[in-house]
């Protein structure tokens, strides 16, 4: 290690940031997209765009479940919402274990044929587990720890940040202006960065620190949750009995919530004497992610339990994860999270770029070493942008009846990303590689509304005319991102090397 405190902090910031920077950029950018996950999913399912808000026919959903899954042990009905207009039913068969899902027209209960897509959930899974299941959660957790360390060490080493709070000097040296951009994005959003990283870790405390659950709940997190949420657990009797009206139970549950709306209904052991119905409230008007619940006897309709999330520890935890999940409906905060997430991504990207710029300007390290880092910077920062755009394109271009369509969309994403990585490694001239990939991403994003115009009936001319901002927002944001990336690529072209600064400023200002 190094001599002084600042030097050792500098060492940790530089190398921790370098090794985990790429991973953190990917996590931050996919997380930023996840802010609008439901909007993206909706955009990616044009078959649902004809739905208009209407009274929900819960009974029709129950009838569909009784028809499709009479033997299932669990039924779920997810009610529509302005971010998700469709009614979703799903069930789990005891013997098969596989969860099945259908999307319904909320007014009539008829099954809608929707193209296979992961939609925004693709970015969501990527964000927290990189599509590597449990292993990915561990990797993301490690990255989050490094992020916290990098934030703390960053404050120590860039100690002039408050003196230079408003300093951004694009005319100064390349390294200076990039460092200013890195510091400005880091310091201004420091509260956001700390909170979002910490709360991200808190969500998975039971994976990262399983000791308590292991000792008291035989390692089963579900057991703990059942106790905390005071779930009513009744065994199947085997005696058939008819199910009470779900619509009536939902109405009665709503009385408990003065103004709250229902998010979903779960029926356990449908058709059995011991059927139980959980009606769960949408946590859309509060920071704390507590979903109030009313549990009914599914046969008699008696209230078995009214749960509203008791206990200060549970409330604290719920507020922390609520700040991260952003499930409450608050349009301004949602957009602010989106911009703050973009800024975080820019901060991380500028950090990785600085590593190269610093060494290139001082000529201290050999060429091949920073060449590798530079290639990785291009592949991760520009390449990911190209891949995200390609994912949107693949959603419109793959025929809607291809088997395993959702998987093909994901394959397109990863294939394009790999191609970008290969391109970044093979291209000799780094500034050209930056420029080409940024232009590719810019073109893909900017032309997306045009592709949408050709392939769907819910393009900008339609959505803007009826002020459907959920759909128009996606197209308009893509246009803005495309325009900003063109600006960034243009600046790189203008001044061969120093140009990348514009990426940071333009990405931050992107979006409507």
């Amino acid at each position: 290690m190094k001599d002084s405190f600042t030097q050792s902090m500098d060492w940790l910031h530089t190398w921790g940031g370098l090794v985990f920077g790429w991973l953190l950029f990917v996590i931050f950018l996919t997380g930023t997209l996840t802010v609008f996950d439901k909007e993206i999913t909706y955009w990616m399912q044009p078959e649902l765009h004809r739905l208009t808000p209407s009274p929900v026919n819960i009974q029709a959903a129950a009838d569909q479940l009784a028809r499709l899954a009479p033997a299932a042990d669990d039924w779920w009905i997810e009610l529509p919402h302005f971010r998700t207009p469709e009614l979703t039913i799903s069930w789990q068969d005891l013997d098969q274990g596989q969860q099945e899902q259908r999307k319904l027209d909320p007014a009539t209960g008829e099954i809608m044929t929707v193209r296979g897509t992961r939609g925004g959930e693709f970015f969501y899974r990527f964000h927290y587990q990189l599509h590597l299941d449990r292993l990915g959660t561990w990797v993301v957790g490690a990255a989050a720890m490094v992020m916290l360390a990098a934030l703390a060490t960053g404050i120590v080493i860039h100690h002039r940040i408050f003196k230079d709070f408003f300093a951004f000097r694009p005319q100064a040296s390349l390294q200076r202006s990039w460092l200013d951009a890195h510091n400005a994005t880091g310091v201004l959003m420091l509260p956001f960065h700390v909170v979002i990283t910490f709360t991200g870790l808190v969500i998975f405390w039971m994976i990262y620190m399983p000791g308590g659950v292991d000792v008291f709940y035989e390692g089963e997190f579900g057991n703990m949750l059942a106790e905390v949420e005071q779930r009513v657990d009744r065994k199947r009797t085997g005696t058939p009995a008819s199910l009470a009206s779900l619509a009536a139970l939902e109405q009665r549950a709503k009385i408990q919530w003065n103004g709250g709306v229902t998010e979903w209904i779960q029926v356990r052991h449908p058709g059995d004497l011991h059927a139980t119905v959980d009606v769960v409230r949408r946590a859309d008007d509060r920071l704390a992610l507590i979903s109030d619940r009313v549990t009914f006897d599914g046969t008699t309709g008696d209230v078995l339990k009214v749960w509203k999330g008791e206990g200060p520890a549970f409330l604290t935890y719920s507020v922390l994860i609520g700040l991260h999940y952003l499930w409450f409906d608050h349009a301004t905060i949602r957009w602010l999270y989106f911009f703050m997430g973009l800024t975080g991504s820019v901060m991380i990207a500028t950090g990785s770029l600085l590593w190269v710029i610093k060494r290139r300007e001082s000529h201290t390290s050999n060429h091949s070493e920073y060449r590798i880092v530079e290639s990785l910077n291009i592949a991760v920062v520009a390449g990911l942008l190209v891949a995200v755009a390609a994912f949107f394109w693949s959603n419109r271009l793959w025929p809607s009846d291809v088997p395993g369509r959702a998987v093909w969309e994901m394959r397109t994403f990863f294939l394009v990303w790999c191609l970008c990585a290969v391109h970044a490694c093979l291209r000799r001239d780094c500034s050209k590689a930056w420029k080409e990939q940024l232009v590719a991403a810019a073109a893909l994003f900017a032309l997306l509304p045009l592709l949408n115009l050709v392939t769907t009936d819910s393009h900008l001319f339609v959505t803007l005319a009826v002020c459907d901002w959920r759909l128009a927002g996606v197209d308009l944001t893509c246009l803005a991102v495309g325009g900003s990336l063109f600006g960034a690529a243009w600046r790189i072209g203008r001044q061969a090397v120093p140009a990348q600064q514009s990426i940071s400023s333009s990405i931050v200002e992107a979006g409507p």
Binding site: F165, R169, L336, M340
Partner: protein, 105 residues
Amino acid sequence: MMEIALCYNGLLALCLAMPKHYRQLFGRSSSDHVRWALKIAGWSAMAGSLLSAIASNGWSFGPVEWIGMTGVTGLVLIFLWPFQPQAAAILGALAVIAAATGVTI
């Protein structure tokens, strides 16, 4: 809009309270009195924007929105300032006018 106007102008005043940024806009040095006045005005406006955020969004969402708003308005200011300090100042005035005339977002 009141919240944005207060927030942006608060940051603008705090920025101008720093001698070098004051010189960038007005071309001359600031006196101690002006510096203090700008500091007080800046911090008061920031506090005002927090109160405004809480007044319109309640105690739970208000502070969350305010933190996001300071970050995003600050970002606009920081990246506009070196290119067009005059434009940054005009933007502040426009925000005040918009807030005063009751524009909402």
